[in-house]
């Protein structure tokens, strides 16, 4: 063929989509996708761990109230996480040959990869890890045992911290700073290292003796002391709202979001005095508190309260969809950052680690910091402004005196390790309410806290569905099914005979 023919035919360059992208362009999208993924996990956790119950006006809750999960239930957990993981893996692949110049991008992507993989393991136990994310090199990845993944993730976090340190120390090379690509810590590498440490702490605390970690010490950077929030610039616009607000608050057009769910009677008991008195957090977390509409999961009747526009998780008084959303609370507004990890979670992990001797430190201080951090997060508005330190301190002490006999609030009253763990996990359950619900579900399955009365019909005593088909004493499921796509496209490797009532995540009780 002649040159003119070649020219005639060489027109296959894509004018519509990019065919390459730099780490600087992939990272902000990947972090934002993590926030969207977490919103999916939050919904899953909230349904399972008793934060939410079916609202009046809706039917068709099916497996959400029977727990007899099919492969299609919550399958977005799987697909969204692996999709997000591929973004991080691409950054890792693109940067691994460009160290130390792209060391920060490389390390951050590995930290987030560890974060995502823990989400998967905690939901599914064994998942493809070693063979995963290899594209055409492995189309049917094998499943790595969950405990092995945990150990591997802890190593990765150590190594990511080392990469950050090496990058910072490198001389004679132009280092690419994260810059505006970092929509999580705004290029603050110390916070990234603290985040990595805290993630490793979560792995070590949760994995416990069931995992052979290579190294259970933590770098000197310390643990996360502020809320880790992803915010690329969320705003009231098409596809640009905070994912939780978009899901449960209002559509950007002002239309109603999902109204099928309302708070459970079980969780309200931790605010309204049925179990604990917490008027300050109750009022900021819930609309119309203490008369917030509640239900017991599985109870379907005409007297079931309906979900108001904007939901009960948005406490603001501005209820017009086109104006609502500059509020403190759980749902704050369309432009609020999305929590990847609350400072409160970090403190409660530190408290538990101290109780168990994993780290040295004062469990009580960490516990109280956790409670205070929870108040601080809930009282923070979308723009980051919030209650003063003095106000927070007084609210926390009010909380302690309102519940002066409760070991769940006053750490000194928790005299045994079990009581301390119960206090820590129960406070974490309250702090993560409808924010990082999947973590509460993980902790319930690991520790059995918050305590429930097995088989009770009383909505305050258990969060299990009244229509539960679970065969367990607590009437709860133990896990969800692998998605059907694995049965279809990776049938040889996907673990078989998974029971949602008896197959346990490796760290579960």
């Amino acid at each position: 063929m002649g040159a003119s023919c070649k020219k005639y035919l060489n027109i296959n360059t894509n004018p519509n989509q990019a065919t390459s992208a730099t780490p600087e362009l992939i990272l902000p999208q990947a972090l934002t996708a993590t926030a969207s993924t977490l919103n999916v996990y939050n919904t899953y956790g909230a349904e399972l761990v008793g934060y939410s119950a079916n609202a009046g006006g809706y039917g068709g809750f099916g497996t959400s109230i029977t727990y007899n999960f099919a492969a299609s239930d919550f399958s977005a957990n799987w697909s969204n996480t692996y999709d997000n993981l591929e973004d991080y893996q691409t950054i890792i692949n693109e940067t691994s040959t460009q160290l130390p110049a792209y060391g920060y991008f490389n390390a951050v992507a590995r930290i987030m990869r560890a974060y995502d993989f823990q989400l998967l393991v905690d939901a599914y136990n064994d998942v493809p890890y070693t063979d995963a994310l290899k594209g055409t090199d492995n189309l049917t990845p094998t499943y790595t045992p969950a405990a092995t993944i945990y150990a591997g993730l802890a190593d990765q976090l150590d190594s990511a911290i080392a990469t950050i340190n090496a990058t910072t120390a490198a001389t004679g090379v132009a280092i690419s700073a994260l810059g505006s690509s970092d929509v999580l810590f705004k290029s603050d590498m110390t916070k990234w290292k603290q985040f990595a440490n805290t993630l490793k702490l979560r792995l070590v605390v949760r994995g416990g003796t069931k995992v052979s970690f290579k190294n259970t010490t933590f770098s000197s950077d310390g643990f996360l002391a502020s809320d880790a929030l992803i915010n690329p610039g969320y705003t009231r616009d098409n596809n640009r709202q905070n994912p939780a607000w978009n899901n449960w608050g209002f559509a950007y057009t002002g239309g109603d979001a999902n109204k099928a769910w309302i708070p459970s009677k079980f969780i309200l008991a931790f605010y309204n005095g049925n179990k604990l008195q917490d008027p300050d957090r109750g009022a900021v977390a819930y609309y119309q508190f203490p008369s917030t509409g509640t239900n017991q999961l599985g109870y379907e009747s005409v007297d079931n309260p309906k979900c108001p526009s904007g939901s009960f998780w948005y406490s603001g008084s501005e209820r017009s969809g086109t104006a609502a959303g500059n509020s403190a609370g759980i749902l704050k507004g369309p432009n609020a950052g999305y929590p990847v990890m609350l400072a409160a979670e970090s403190y409660f992990l530190q408290a538990e680690a101290a109780v168990r001797g994993i780290v040295t430190g004062d469990a009580k201080t960490a516990f109280n910091n956790g409670v205070k951090a929870s108040y601080a997060y809930l009282y923070m508005k979308p723009d980051g402004t919030g209650a003063s330190d003095a106000d927070l301190t007084s609210m926390v002490s009010g909380y302690q005196s309102d519940n002066s006999t409760s070991a769940l609030v006053n750490f000194d009253l928790a005299t045994t390790v079990d009581m301390q763990i119960e206090a820590i996990i129960t406070q974490k359950y309250i702090a993560l309410n409808y924010i990082s619900s999947q973590e509460s579900w993980n902790e319930y399955r690991r520790t059995g806290y918050p305590k429930i009365v097995n088989g009770s019909a009383d909505a305050v005593q258990t969060f299990a569905s009244t229509q539960s088909q679970s065969t367990r004493p607590d009437k709860l499921p133990t896990r969800i099914q692998y998605p059907s796509s694995e049965g279809s496209y990776n049938p040889r490797n996907v673990p078989k005979n998974i029971s949602v009532f008896s197959s346990l995540i490796f760290w579960a009780k």
């Binding site: 992939i26 996708a33 006006g57 492995n138 057009t253 002002g254 309906k306 998605p483 279809s488």
Partner: protein, 1052 residues
């Protein structure tokens, strides 16, 4: 020569003086199938007086009693008849021995005599195509061609048709036949835009032998449409009007015993579930004929009600659709030119209330001789389509199923004025009033097609033609989809269980164009020397396809009823894409003939395409075929009284086809830009202000994609017996397609969701058989019966070790249509119950409940193995009756609407055990004492055979695909028509009216489905017209329809 003779005859006619005994005789000449014979010669024996028949087979001739008329036409046995007293004749000519000399248009517009062609083909004449007065040519072709599977894959005012010849070859690429209109390759969609009345004939080339002249797209066979040309002689004007009524022919089978309510509302003393006036699910008590409230009381205190008894108004939502079609054509010509002009206007209202469609087409065709050596042909057609339809067919269907069957839906028509029909007062809080939905969710579409071609044919010396052609097919399309706002009253939002939420207005608007240019230049050389002949063609082809799509949308429209993108809140959604591809082909085609009975034909072509990498972009493919007319070559056969014609033929061919992207459908990308993975810039709301973000695409691309290669052979024979009263042809073929370009779903854990690669092989083999017998043939009567039969063994030989199966089209990545190695192509895969080795469902020995299998399994092949068409044609003088039946069988279909039916409790299955506890039929349970062996279950019953959360609504029923997989077998009365040629004498002595015909006709008049198919027409495809994932039906197709109407047509 024939035309020359005819002209002489006409001239002679004018010269003759009409004497006293002579009167004007009129007549009409048909073949035995009722098709008019054009250009037949009618001469009075022993004179030069005569005429020829016109486009409708009609003629006028002055003659007198006792004259003998000699009627002859090429391809037919001549006939003589003595005139009695008649003045209006209905004549029929039998197909003659010359049939093999009939000229048909084959690939590239090359005219060949039948005897020369070594591959299977079918010719459909205009009258056969339009007998049923189908608006769409595809539906007019249904059942008429062996080996051609035409499925109406959707419903609505202008349904889609999928045309597949000889089964599917490509796993995920295009398998539809190539459509060629007047020598120009056009998008398949154009078939639906063509005025059927403009079609002169359609030639179907079943195999891939045509690929040399059309390029690789013809590997799926070709449908060659030739439109009418003007005729020499006096101007002829044809006008016709057809009115067709469409009515729903089949509704899903529903239970008629139980109404709204369910166990969620408690049980009565007898343990039966309670009634509830809000519930959409029909799991309430048995109908008792008592009037009961319907929905919550309205704000004014009034409350809707309905008698609690089955009401057949359930499906009356779908109304009669009406199509009105007017045709006009004008034909003229002289020695140097011909001219054909036509117009058609049709308006259609659908069975869905409010759906409208109209189409207008104009066509100008012409030929012109310039001197002795240059001939010019031009064809132009312009079609404009206007749709105004609802965008919510599927949800409206679902709304109707979620309506207890005591409710008469037609009461809710006037939702603007009737408080119980208004969304505020409509009784069902979860499912909208379908009449409201139909009005509120609209799609207005316009698409305009311009198709044109010019051909210059230069003949410097006899036998040598130089031909140049330029074709264009272009489409301009735009649509506006709108959703109107609805604000509910506070009362409506907060009454009882209401979950009514305000509807925010939105608009989506798009404009697109596609332009496909095709240039051909070739020479043809024909030479005959003694017993030998040669016909050589060599040429080149250039093709360029371009498309542009721009779409935008806005939500939360501020000013009511202003459906403009600028009227939204927030950033409008926008999208833009451009595509351009090119292809060059160089081809040769040679046919050697020996003694008029042996023909060897070979082709070769090389393509260069822009859409593959330079290393893989060129590919070569040859073909060869042989035709042997035994009835001419072998004396014993030639002299046989039984065998009138026998041709034996066979061929082998290889074709490459690049199957990337979308080459068919409404928005083709022509396979451009598929070689490199992409990154998306719009995920997760990006960009946020100045902050851009890109996500890694989810499709992997293997490094060097290649064309798919199809190789195969066909052998067959054409056999006519008993002086051509029995006509038949039989073909056996076998093709294999390698290097499948596959876009398959893969495990998310790879980091991706799909992979594009070359792997796998499919095979398609089968028998095509056509036979017709003229059972009765007298002067007044003619009865012909016959049909065609297709056996198709279409399978996937292998895919790849890493991909055991490949999803083509699925519902939430599970149940659906799959390609599976070693199985038919495609198959239905989905969940089944765990079964013992004998196939009995294993139930739990305590609960009686079956267990859903962990993984999906094979549930049946989705491609019809056997297809049979039977046609009947009866003529009695001026009356003509024809009917066409079609059968398809040997395949399964997954009816996804079954899950919705069972959910809503209107499903027939849900009342199979009267809503009582029941023993799962044909079940076994594992012997508790002897694991691994099973005991027949006659005692362990499923406790909850009822209820909103009972067996029927639960995943254990609805998630099990096999519960809704049924036989796809059907018989349909595809077409039936009766026509009557009005004797022109009724129009008086004036010669203005040449012919007039009235007819009544119907299509899809009756449908007989397999007994287990409770749902819908198995011909539908929920995966869409262009997907290979056939075998799935759903709620997006309205119930199947029958069409019946009447036509009057007059020629002046």
């Amino acid at each position: 020569m024939r035309k020359f003779l005819s002209l002489l005859a006409v001239w002679a006619c004018f010269c003759m003086s009409v004497n006293a005994q002579t009167k004007m005789i009129t007549g009409k000449i048909n073949d035995l199938t009722g098709t008019p014979i054009v250009n037949a010669s009618i001469i009075i024996k022993g004179t030069h007086s005569g005429t020829t028949s016109d486009a409708l087979g009609s003629f006028r001739l002055p003659a007198k009693k006792g004259d003998v008329l000699v009627i002859s036409a090429v391809g037919y046995n001549p006939m003589e008849m003595k005139l009695g007293g008649q003045s209006d004749l209905a004549l029929q000519l039998a197909t003659g021995n010359k049939i093999m000399d009939e000229v048909i248009v084959t690939a590239g517009g090359i005219k060949s005599r039948r005897r020369e062609v070594g591959t299977a083909n079918t010719v459909i004449k205009a009258t056969a195509l339009t007998a049923g007065k189908a608006v769409n040519i595809a539906s007019g072709l249904q059942g008429k061609v062996a080996g051609l599977n035409i499925s109406g894959t959707s419903s609505g005012v202008n349904p889609n048709y999928r045309l597949v010849l000889r089964g599917q070859r490509s796993l995920t690429g295009n398998n539809q036949a190539l459509v060629v209109l007047d020598n120009v390759i056009v998008p398949n969609a154009l078939l639906a835009q063509l005025n059927p009345e403009d079609v002169d004939e359609i030639v179907v080339l079943n195999g891939s032998g045509a690929a040399a002249l059309y390029g690789s797209q013809a590997s799926n066979g070709a449908i060659i449409v030739t439109t009418k040309k003007g005729r020499k002689g006096a101007a002829e004007i044809h006008v016709a009007n057809t009115t067709t009524i469409e009515s729903v022919a089949f509704y899903p089978k529903i239970q008629k015993k139980f109404g709204a309510g369910g166990t969620a509302y408690g049980l009565d003393l007898n343990g039966n579930p309670l009634f509830n006036y809000l519930e959409n699910q029909s799991y309430g008590p048995a109908f008792d004929g008592v009037k009961r409230p319907l929905g919550a009381p309205l704000e004014d205190g009034s409350q809707d009600s309905a008698v609690y008894a089955y009401n057949p108004g359930h499906f009356k939502f779908w109304q009669h659709g009406i199509t009105n079609q007017s045709d006009f054509s004008l034909s003229n010509g002289d020695d140097n030119s011909t001219f054909y002009l036509s117009g058609q206007y049709s308006t259609t209202t659908g069975t869905t209330p409010g759906d409208h469609y109209n189409r207008a087409t104009v066509r100008v065709n012409g030929t012109r001789k310039l001197g002795n050596k240059l001939n010019v042909v031009y064809n132009t057609t312009y079609t404009q389509n206007r749709y105004d339809i609802t965008s919510q067919t599927g949800s409206m269907y679902s709304q109707m199923l979620n309506m207890p069957s005591n409710v008469d839906i037609t009461r809710y028509k006037n939702w603007r004025t009737d408080k119980f029909a208004n969304p505020n007062g409509y009784y069902n809080p979860w499912y909208q009033n379908p009449y409201f939905t139909a009005d509120d969710y609209r799609s207005k579409q316009r698409n305009d097609y311009l198709t044109a071609n010019i051909e210059l044919r230069y003949t410097p010396v006899a036998g040598l033609d130089l031909v140049a052609r330029q074709g264009i097919a272009t489409k301009n399309n735009s649509y506006k989809n709108t959703i109107g706002a609805f604000k509910y009253t506070t009362y409506a939002k907060n009454t009882d269980q209401s979950s009514k939420s305000d509807i925010s207005a939105s608009v989506g608007d798009a404009s697109t164009y596609n332009t496909e240019l095709l240039t051909d230049a070739f020479l043809q050389y024909i030479k005959k020397a003694g017993d030998f002949s040669v016909n050589l063609i060599a040429g080149g082809q250039w093709r360029q396809d371009q498309a542009k799509y721009v779409a935008m949308s806005a939500n939360g429209l501020v000013v009511p009823n202003l459906f403009n993108v600028s009227n939204g809140v927030g950033t409008p959604g926008v999208g833009e894409s451009d595509f351009e591809t090119r292809q060059i082909g160089a081809y040769g085609d040679v046919r050697f003939g020996y003694k008029n009975y042996l023909y060897l034909h070979g082709t070769a072509r090389n393509d260069w395409v822009s859409i593959l990498n330079p290393d893989n972009r060129t590919f070569f493919y040859p073909s060869v075929d042989l035709s042997f007319v035994a009835s001419d070559a072998i004396t014993a056969i030639k002299e046989s009284n039984t065998i009138s014609y026998l041709k034996v033929r066979g061929g082998w061919s290889k074709v490459g086809q690049v199957n990337l992207g979308y080459t068919t459908g409404d928005a083709p990308d022509y396979g451009a830009y598929y070689l490199v993975p992409t990154y998306s810039s719009t995920n997760q709301g990006f960009p946020y202000g100045n902050l851009a973000g890109y996500s890694v695409g989810n499709t992997l691309v293997s490094p060097s994609l290649k064309p798919e290669i199809t190789k195969g052979y066909e052998v067959g024979f054409d056999l006519n017996l008993f002086k051509n009263r029995f006509v038949s042809n039989v073909t056996w073929y076998d093709t294999k397609t390698n290097n499948q370009t596959v876009n398959t779903a893969i495990s998310n854990s790879t980091g991706f969701t799909s992979l594009r690669t070359n792997t796998g092989q499919t095979q398609s083999r089968g028998i095509e058989l056509t036979a017709h017998m003229t059972a009765v043939q007298t002067r007044d009567w003619n009865v012909t019966v016959g049909g065609n039969y297709t056996y198709l063994d279409n399978k996937v030989n292998f895919i790849s070790a890493a991909l055991p199966n490949l999803s083509l089209s699925t519902y939430s990545s599970t149940a659906g249509s799959y390609a599976v190695a070693g199985k038919a192509f495609p198959v239905i895969m989905g969940y089944d119950y765990l079964r013992d080795p004998q196939g009995h469902v294993i139930v739990d020995h305590l609960t009686g409940l079956p267990t859903k299998a962990d993984t999906i399994s094979f549930l049946g092949n989705a491609v019809a193995k056997n297809r049979l068409s039977l046609d009947l044609s009866v003529s009695y003088r001026h009356f003509h009756l024809s009917a066409l039946f079609e059968y398809r069988g040997g395949y399964k279909v997954y009816n996804s609407m079954g899950t919705e039916l069972d959910w809503s409790g209107t499903g027939y299955r849900t009342a199979a055990y009267n809503r009582q506890s029941f023993v799962y039929p044909n079940s076994v349970y594992e012997d508790p004492n002897k694991p691994g062996s099973y005991i027949k279950n006659t005692t362990v019953a499923i406790a909850n055979g009822n209820g909103n959360n009972g067996f029927w609504t639960d995943g254990i029923n609805r998630d099990v695909t096999s519960n809704y997989v049924t036989s796809g077998a059907f018989w349909k009365l595809r077409e039936a028509s009766i026509s009557y040629d009005i004797p022109t004498s009724v129009f008086g002595k004036s010669k203005i009216v040449k012919t007039a015909t009235v007819s009544v006709q119907g299509r899809n008049l009756f449908m007989w489905l397999a007994k287990d198919n409770l749902y819908t027409d198995p011909e539908y495809s929920d995966a869409g017209n262009d997907s290979n994932g056939i075998g799935l039906t759903g709620l997006n197709q309205t119930p199947p329809s029958r069409f019946y109407g009447a036509t009057i047509s007059v020629t002046f």
